[in-house]
Symmetry: C2
DNA sequence: CACGATTATATCGTGCACGATATATATGGC
DNA sequence: GCCATATATATCGTGCACGATATAATCGTG
């Protein structure tokens, strides 16, 4: 069996995920962020204590080989500080700097702007989000 | 407003799209293909006449700056031939080679394997695909 | 307490993906 | 026919994203 891209669920996801990143681009450009950087910062803004690289990786589904360079760029931008845990020198704790915290306020309008662009109402968005997330779970499990 | 990644529709899409590529990986590794290469080949397998780079780009949503190197890799693998259109030397026609056509048969089991991994029945898959595709359309439009 | 196994992060190589730009060809108005 | 403009593809630089591997620290078992 052979399908056209437009008939495939995988392609719908792939294409919609790219379109979503394009929708974010003008908003994030203004903040000097890429989309993956914004996702990592969102995890940090919500975190209680400074998480380890692996904690962030688990939450956002990225490997250290992706996260380490990304976090170094956030550090170079002055948004986070990376420091080895004194108790276990293998681990690196990621802390927001003042500038990193301040950026949360400057990004506060972003979710609303994106919500608008989806053209969905809140119930439909939540339903779709949960269906898509459940699919992701099943794919990662199986 | 600030949300955790897990609460965001965008993150569900981003994460599910990555999970989908991971689900494809073992199947495509056996064929020596990446996921974007598989999508481009799927478009070529279904095409009537040799499409131009821009035709493929429109169908799969990629720029020439992404497609040109990808097509060169497919050419290096012996799966496609790239040749300038005699009528308009600006355009490049992409034709499947024998090996490229033969690969279609060797990839015929892939959609079924992926369908299994989704854990969805066909009606649910089609419904989700169409919802996600419609969202992608709205995001690209607005 | 010594040493092999495990864990955490980092590095490397390949391949997307895009925006900006370059190059080459074609088109249209004069 | 000539030149400005438009179009098609290609190139370049940056930043993901992963698998494989390296490095360094800790743990467990004897």
């Amino acid at each position: 069996m052979t399908l056209r891209p437009a008939d495939m669920l995988c392609f719908a996801l792939y294409s919609a995920a790219q379109a979503m990143q394009q929708a974010y681009r003008p908003l994030l450009d203004a903040l000097g962020l890429t989309y993956p950087q914004y996702i990592v910062l969102s995890a940090l803004w919500a975190a209680e204590d400074p998480p380890r690289v692996s904690d962030i990786g688990r939450e956002v589904g990225l490997e250290s080989s992706t996260l380490t360079p990304l976090l170094k760029r956030l550090e170079a931008a002055g948004l986070v500080a990376r420091q080895r845990d004194a108790r276990d020198e293998r681990q690196v704790r990621i802390r927001l700097t003042e500038a990193g915290r301040a950026l949360q306020a400057r990004a506060a309008h972003v979710p609303g702007c994106i919500f608008e662009k989806t053209g969905l109402d809140e119930a439909a968005l939540v339903a779709l989000r949960d269906e898509v997330a459940a699919l992701g779970q099943r794919l990662r499990a199986g």
